[in-house]
Amino acid sequence: MATTINEGTPVIPTGRSRRAKVADSGGRLAALLLSPTMLVLALVIGYPVLAGFRESLFTRGEGLDADGFVVEGERFVGLDNYAAIFSGDRATAFWNAFGNTTFFTVTTVFLETVIGVAMALIMQRAFRGRAFVRASILVPWAIPTAISGLLWRWIFQADGAANAVLGTDILWTADGPAAKTAVIIAEVWKTSPFIALLVLAGLQMIPREVYEAAQVDGAGALQRFWRITLPLVKPALLVAVLFRMLDVLRMFDLPAVLVGVNQKSVQTLTTISWFEASNLRYGSAAAYATVLFVYIAVISYLFVKLLGADIIGQAREVRKKPATKAGAKTVRKVAA
């Protein structure tokens, strides 16, 4: 023991400082090499976010002066725009849009996940005409949203296909719960293929032998799905669901084309923000956008934290290994 200490102590500090120096210069070089990317990101992401936030603290062109003229230029109003959103004259509209956005997110993502996984399982099967099935499943994803919105509006019009098939006289694209349903149906139709595609990629990473091993062990089809397929496809599925959630939270074009903006039942945070902006209430529009931004950020953070969606998993894995090694070394040193 004594000899270990005698030999060990003089070596450790030099070794450590040298390593620290290497890491330091490496870090500086890395920062230098990354700086162009950082600059571009700051310009295209950082600046708009900050500018949007700044805009939400101002109002312009809204007040009249004592002579009855429209006030030119912007006026700082602090958090007035936010106050108006949360509890002021726009609170009802905001909470309605917020509720709609959340409702659409929960329902469409749930339905898309179930349908998308089912589609992926079908596409993975080897059968005659598989290429055709795969292609036809992916078609809705390839159509521009505005076009599919028009398509569904045609289906959902008063004397359209939907009513003819169902034998009903529902005004799908007017307002109320029917309009919500129409938006959900169109959205699920359009974006299930996205989940299906990502899940299919995940499924194809699972070796066939793993299924066969479970089969030899006596696992039935359902057990294989719940115990083997789903856990193994989980990383891909979580990424797909996260992306879809972020998309639906920002949903604009489908309700706008299918039903129209400023329709209470399908008003989302994006359409309300757009509506404000097109009425030249930029401050209020920016406030809506900022609230949506924060909402999306919180949801994705919770999603990644709670469900462990491994968006940047491999990078973390690589970083973890040297860390544990260093940790083990410290332990050993302490023991010595």
Binding site: P207, V210, E212, A213, V216, D217, G218, P231
Partner: protein, 351 residues
């Protein structure tokens, strides 16, 4: 424990590929049985058909008294170790081993206990909480074995169980596997393309080619008296010399050299003469009744050298030379076959 009986088994894939062609096979209860053959000979298809992962086009498979031809794999009471081990990457070692028990609805406590017991027997005690990705190839192989053992099957099926291990580990795993199988006494069928593995492990070997069994026998029989030139060339770590020869009376003539035919062989025919490189005497001095040629290639095998003599009228005669002789390439040398060790094939069958 159960014997395996395969009757008139054929498997034809879509597209007309005939992987198994009217095959019959009996594996005795508790036997360690090898299916050996080059790739594409149907050995893996046969194993998978016994497992139930492939449905035969015709024929039957019985385990013990039961005809299991139409039973799904999970109800055949077999356990399989796959070539890539097929461990479940999202489960730790304990859960992997206990998976068959979970399917059999064994309680959680009992399951973990039995998994730990089996794992301890295979030296996996300290690895129970690891994921497969954190294990070496040898450890993964043992986990796969442990999963098979924990299932308490009537039959083990191993698909190239050692092929993913490096050479040294493979030798260790081979001894380990042989001892394990003897201790458990469970009927075991394993597939391999490695003749050394089959010779080392199996109680009996079936050599397959083109969907049929060419020869079944103990490792000793298959090595000493291969039934066809195909088996002869496939078995043995140094390939057998197969030379065109003429049999007349009880003497053979090959590559211009006449020598006595093996005991009990006589007749008048065009034949193929086979002799293993180990059963030729090498000499740098002229020998009677020996092949003469120039030393073309010298390959070092460790305790011996494999020397190829360029003998006119042959593709080359290979001789194993003990260490210390060190023949120089380009010199003349003689190789005399041991008369009793030669094999004579007439139109593909052993005389």
């Amino acid at each position: 424990m159960a014997a395996i009986a395969v009757r008139n088994l054929s498997k034809e894939y879509a597209g007309g590929v005939r992987a198994l062609d009217g095959l019959d096979l009996e594996v005795a209860d508790g036997e360690f049985f090898a299916l050996l053959g080059p790739s594409g000979c149907g050995k893996t298809t046969l194993l998978r058909t016994i497992a139930g992962l492939e449905i035969p086009t015709s024929g039957t498979v019985s385990l013990g008294e039961r005809d299991v031809t139409r039973l799904p794999p999970g109800r055949r009471d077999v356990a399989m170790v796959f070539q890539d081990y097929a461990l479940f990457p999202h489960m730790d070692v304990a859960d992997n081993i206990a998976y068959p028990l979970r399917i059999q609805r064994v309680g959680r406590q009992d399951r973990r206990g039995r998994a730990a017991e089996v794992a301890a027997g295979l030296g996996l005690r300290d690895l129970l909480a690891r994921r497969p990705a954190q294990l070496s190839g040898g450890q993964q192989q043992r986990v796969a074995l442990a999963r098979a053992i924990a299932a308490h099957p009537a039959v083990f099926l191993f698909d190239e169980p050692l092929s993913n291990l490096d050479a040294r580990l493979r030798l260790e795993a081979r001894s380990f596997l042989k001892r394990l199988q003897r201790d458990l006494g469970v009927t075991t069928v394993f597939v391999t393309h490695d003749q050394a593995e089959a010779l080392a492990l199996a109680d009996r070997i079936a050599v397959m080619s083109a969907g049929r069994i060419t020869q079944i026998g103990t490792p000793r029989t298959v090595f000493q008296r291969p039934a066809t030139p195909f088996v002869a060339s496939f078995i043995g770590s140094t390939p057998m010399n197969l030379l065109p020869a003429v049999l007349s009376g009880d003497r053979l003539t090959a590559a211009g050299t006449a020598f006595p035919a093996p005991p009990g062989v006589s007749g008048e025919a065009e034949v193929q003469y086979g002799v293993r490189p180990e059963y030729l005497d090498f000499s740098a001095e002229p020998l009677p009744e020996a092949f003469e040629g120039e030393v073309a290639v010298v390959e070092h095998l460790g305790t011996s050298d494999l020397v190829t003599l360029a003998v006119p009228g042959t593709p080359g005669v290979r001789v194993v030379v003990p260490e210390g002789v060190d023949p120089a390439p380009g010199t003349r040398a003689w190789a005399r076959p041991h008369p009793a060790r030669g094999l004579v094939y007439e139109s593909g069958t052993l005389l």
